[in-house]
Symmetry: C2
Subunit: 213 residues, 2 copies
């Protein structure tokens, strides 16, 4: 029993180290050599827990998804269904994005750019997480439409696509450009998106004749 | 003279190979070993052209910036100043994003996620390119305000931030999710952004009382 608990503890330790590496260097940085040095084990010691580096990457994606679920998705479920729950989710998502030492943006956003033009099990696992996350967001939007807070003709797919863009832009602005205005800009964009979705607003603002001159 | 031309040709060849690698594997994939195999040279042969892998990365960023400039920025300058030029730039940018074998999105978008939490000359070079590109976009927005096509009180910084988000979202949707709806969603989001910026539209849609119920 103790041996097994030790094994599970070691596995956790390896995943935590892998998580720290991937946050800074991406999946390409999570190599057996780098990982072995970081946890202070031999490569063959690592092999007792993971049969290949791909197995580490896959376990890492599942692990990051769990962290995202417990930090973003679950706490927001405590808010009332409809607009409060959607707003709580968006707010937790932006918080997560700005927090150092996370993938940021969405469970594994840096991986989307790393694996966009590559095939394989790692890409498939990332895709599965992102599809599930977008389905969850879309469901929250549909519930908000059902409560009457959002327009009945709102395109929930488009809402999620534009919301994702705001979050990616916030990621780049906060973490890469390190702009002090990043949070204010993201909140302004989110407010605009919410206001345009609210019932009573026209689907599209009228084209002003002034713009033709 | 011939020797020098050969040297320059070889340097181009190395950069082109590095460009092909970075598009798929990111900067982490552009190692001396990978590059030497791809161009069929020894590592010491590479050293005759680049003193370190960091020199390759920096040359690659400059090269990608030049390709972006000649494919996106310059052709759009042929359109009239103001809205036509801004629209031409946005359209070329979206085309570039969807094209396989480019970094996509912005000169070096994948690098923003790779180098967000790392310091050094590569990050600095990426940052310089992105700041220059955003300055260029902001200048196009200011010119559009000056022609009267956009509202006088439009926040050009916010416009560029939201436009960048649309482009990142398109990148993920087209290249990672591979959604057949990605282009239509991006165009719809761009139309919305442009329409909200046009003169005669209110800065913020009114809050409908219906949404409070």
């Amino acid at each position: 029993m103790n041996a097994q608990r030790f094994t599970q503890g070691t596995r956790s330790l390896i995943l935590q180290a892998a998580f720290e590496i991937v946050c800074v260097y991406g999946f390409a940085g999570v190599t057996l050599g780098h990982l072995a040095r970081k946890v202070g084990m031999s490569k063959s010691g690592l092999f007792a827990h993971f049969k290949s580096i791909e197995q580490v990457h896959l376990a890492l994606i599942a692990y990051a998804g769990e962290v995202f679920r417990s930090d973003v998705i679950l706490p927001a479920l405590e808010s009332d269904a409809g607009l409060p729950r959607l707003e709580a989710t968006m707010s937790k998502w932006l918080e997560w994005t700005a927090r150092p030492g996370t993938f940021g943006g969405s469970p594994l956003i840096a991986g989307f750019f790393e694996f966009d033009d590559r095939e394989g099990a790692v890409r498939d696992a990332l895709l599965e997480q992102e599809v599930a996350w977008r389905d969850h967001l879309r469901q929250l939007v549909v519930e908000t439409i059902e409560t009457g807070a959002f327009r009945q003709d709102l395109n929930s797919e488009q809402f999620v696509s534009e919301l994702s863009g705001i979050c990616y832009s916030f990621h780049v602005s906060a973490r890469f450009l390190r702009s002090p205005e990043s949070q204010a800009a993201a909140l302004l964009a989110v407010d605009g998106l919410l206001n345009r979705a609210k019932s009573g607003t026209p689907s599209m603002p009228p084209f002003p004749s002034a713009s033709e001159g």
